[in-house]
């Protein structure tokens, strides 16, 4: 089964660069965590066929980010993907979600796939909208929030993890699936696999290569939330003394 895995090169939210606003351009990129689960699932399901990664670069500055995105993709290749496609185009930096989905779908159409796997949501944006958007663009069914996946005879059986219940659904392939963190345990690549990944192809594409154009960018401003906590740390004394101190503080605050 030929599989496309959607990999977001996301802002590393544990290393946000913050001044008056969030300085997106100086914040490093990393693989969006749950996309590792999507990669793992693809490696398990692909069988004799190929699985490839697709990234649309969203955060600028373009030139410097290309190198960072390649490093992220190497990680996914080391986990077992065969090839990667990096869509890097000035017009896609801070682009609308509609444009991002259009670019992703264009790569899938160009390369072909029986299944598209994505994460349930990204660490930086956390919206879960790209998988259904890509499905709409391709005209394929979408199954979101999947924590168990089986493929049997051209059909896909999935357990969807919803708020109050688990729903088992069946859809024909091709389809788009978004997975949760609980679906599997992503592998840690071996040194050998990391070295082998250096030789796997990363294909760079522009909008012109894909033959599409996109709508204007979206305007957004990011204001950091300054959370000032008191950060009082009680570390000396016996457990008894520490407990007493904590209780005193909480009483002073009037919360117990």
């Amino acid at each position: 089964m030929k599989i496309a895995v959607l990999i977001k090169t996301a802002l590393d939210t544990s290393q946000l660069r913050v001044r008056d606003t969030v300085v997106v351009e100086e914040t490093p990129l990393k693989i969006s965590d749950i996309d590792r689960n999507a990669v793992e699932e693809a490696v398990k399901l692909k069988g004799q066929d190929k699985a490839y990664g697709v990234t649309v670069l969203k955060w600028g500055p373009l030139q410097r980010r290309i190198q960072e995105a390649e490093n992220v993709l190497r990680e996914a290749l080391a986990m077992g993907l065969d090839e990667a496609y990096l869509v890097a185009d000035e017009k896609l930096i801070n682009a609308s979600h509609a444009a991002t989905a259009k670019a992703i779908a264009a790569v899938v159409k160009k390369v072909g796939a029986d299944l598209v796997l994505a994460g349930e949501a990204t660490v930086d944006n956390y919206t879960g909208q790209i998988p259904p958007r890509v499905a709409a663009e391709l005209g394929w069914p979408v199954v979101t929030y999947v924590r168990e996946l089986k493929v049997e005879g051209g059909k896909l059986v999935a357990r969807r993890d919803l708020e109050d219940h688990v729903e088992v659904v069946e859809v024909p392939l091709p389809a788009v699936v978004s997975v949760t963190r609980e679906i599997n345990q992503p592998r840690i690549p071996t040194l050998l696999a990391i070295r082998a990944a250096m030789k796997k192809p990363i294909n760079k594409l522009t909008l012109a290569d894909l033959g599409i154009s996109v709508e204007p960018k979206v305007s957004a401003a990011y204001k950091p939330l300054l959370m000032q906590r008191k950060k009082v740390v009680i570390k000396d004394g016996t457990p008894e003394e520490k407990a007493e101190k904590l209780i005193q503080y909480l009483k002073q605050e009037g919360v117990i």
């Binding site: 259904p132 688990v166 069946e170 979206v218 950060k231 009680i234 570390k235 407990a243 909480l250 919360v255």
Partner: protein, 299 residues
């Protein structure tokens, strides 16, 4: 101005009314239509299975013609329908909007981003789609005259629901709790959580947990799960026990008045996000706390 509400609730209809103009609601059976009579100008009853996002998005796309804003609840199916619909009508989708208004032909909204470490102010052209988190907006939609109409679609959904299993649910309402004792992977066995329940009991609070406790280990039902992908809580005291304090957990407790933490690792990130931290083995200190606090309360 015209707003379409899919999966309408009182809250969503209220938000729609604040945008002004006509409010259209899309529902999937007569009972739902009856329930919102008088709260929307038009109610459209579509003959599709409300549990199938593909089918709901198709119905919504039909009704969305000439609509400026589409509102949905921030549920998993709500967000899925939102993404499908937004792509079909070439619109932007703002997920988990914490404020919304229409001005000069654009939808202006705020939402938390970057693991809830920043607020984004976004402005997108109309038509636009947005999802609204539960409990964020409170108000009554004004009483209006309602007309009800039917929408017949002959869709053949590709998705088939094979079975549905209810998840275990109790009576936990973490969003309303004043005190929360929250547990993480610092607990070694499921039985040990009993300590946290006891501590919560003497404090008059409820028990929360990190994602792995509910999702991976399944030691507690998901209604206890706090964080970016779980409940957003705002107690006066949040006591994190054996929780490392990853940004995705912190994202759910930002609005707590006081955060306290117990962790045996002095470099655990939770201490950077807490008002009061205790570096100690939870197995040693929690029993002492239970003892001392119950005496205190007994006085």
């Amino acid at each position: 101005m015209k707003t379409l509400v899919v999966y309408p609730s009182k809250e969503l209809l209220y938000v729609a009314s604040t945008l002004g103009g006509e409010v259209v609601a899309l529902v999937f059976n007569e009972g739902e239509a009856e329930a919102i009579k008088g709260k929307a100008h038009r109610v459209v009853v579509a003959n599709v299975d409300a549990r199938l996002p593909d089918a709901v998005a198709e119905a919504a796309a039909k009704v969305a013609q000439g609509v400026d804003v589409v509102l949905l609840p921030s549920t998993k199916n709500g967000k899925t329908v939102g993404g499908l619909l937004a792509q079909r009508i070439g619109a932007e989708l703002i997920v988990d909007a914490t404020s919304l208004r229409v001005e000069g032909g654009a939808l202006k909204a705020e939402r938390y981003v970057f693991g809830n470490k920043a607020v984004a102010t976004v402005e997108v052209p109309l038509p636009a789609v947005a999802t609204v988190p539960p409990g964020r907006f409170q108000g009554e939609p004004p009483a209006v005259q309602t007309s009800v109409e039917k929408l017949q679609l002959d869709t053949a959904p590709k998705t088939r629901i094979v079975s549905v299993e209810e998840k275990a649910r109790g009576a936990v309402k973490l969003e309303e709790a004043e005190i929360i004792v929250s547990v993480g992977r610092g607990f070694k066995k499921k039985e040990d959580l009993q300590m946290a329940f006891e501590l919560a009991k003497v404090l008059g609070g409820q028990v929360g947990c990190s994602r792995p406790i509910a999702a991976d280990l399944k030691w507690l039902p998901e209604e206890h799960w706090v964080g970016l992908s779980g409940k957003k809580v705002k107690p006066k005291l949040y006591l994190a026990v054996g929780i490392s304090g990853q940004p995705q957990h912190i994202a759910g407790i930002l609005e707590s008045r006081i955060i306290a933490a117990i962790n045996n690792d002095p470099s655990a990130p939770i201490f950077q996000n807490a008002d009061y931290g205790v570096v100690e083995d939870l197995y040693k200190i929690v029993p002492i706390l239970i003892n001392k606090i119950s005496k205190l309360k007994g006085q």
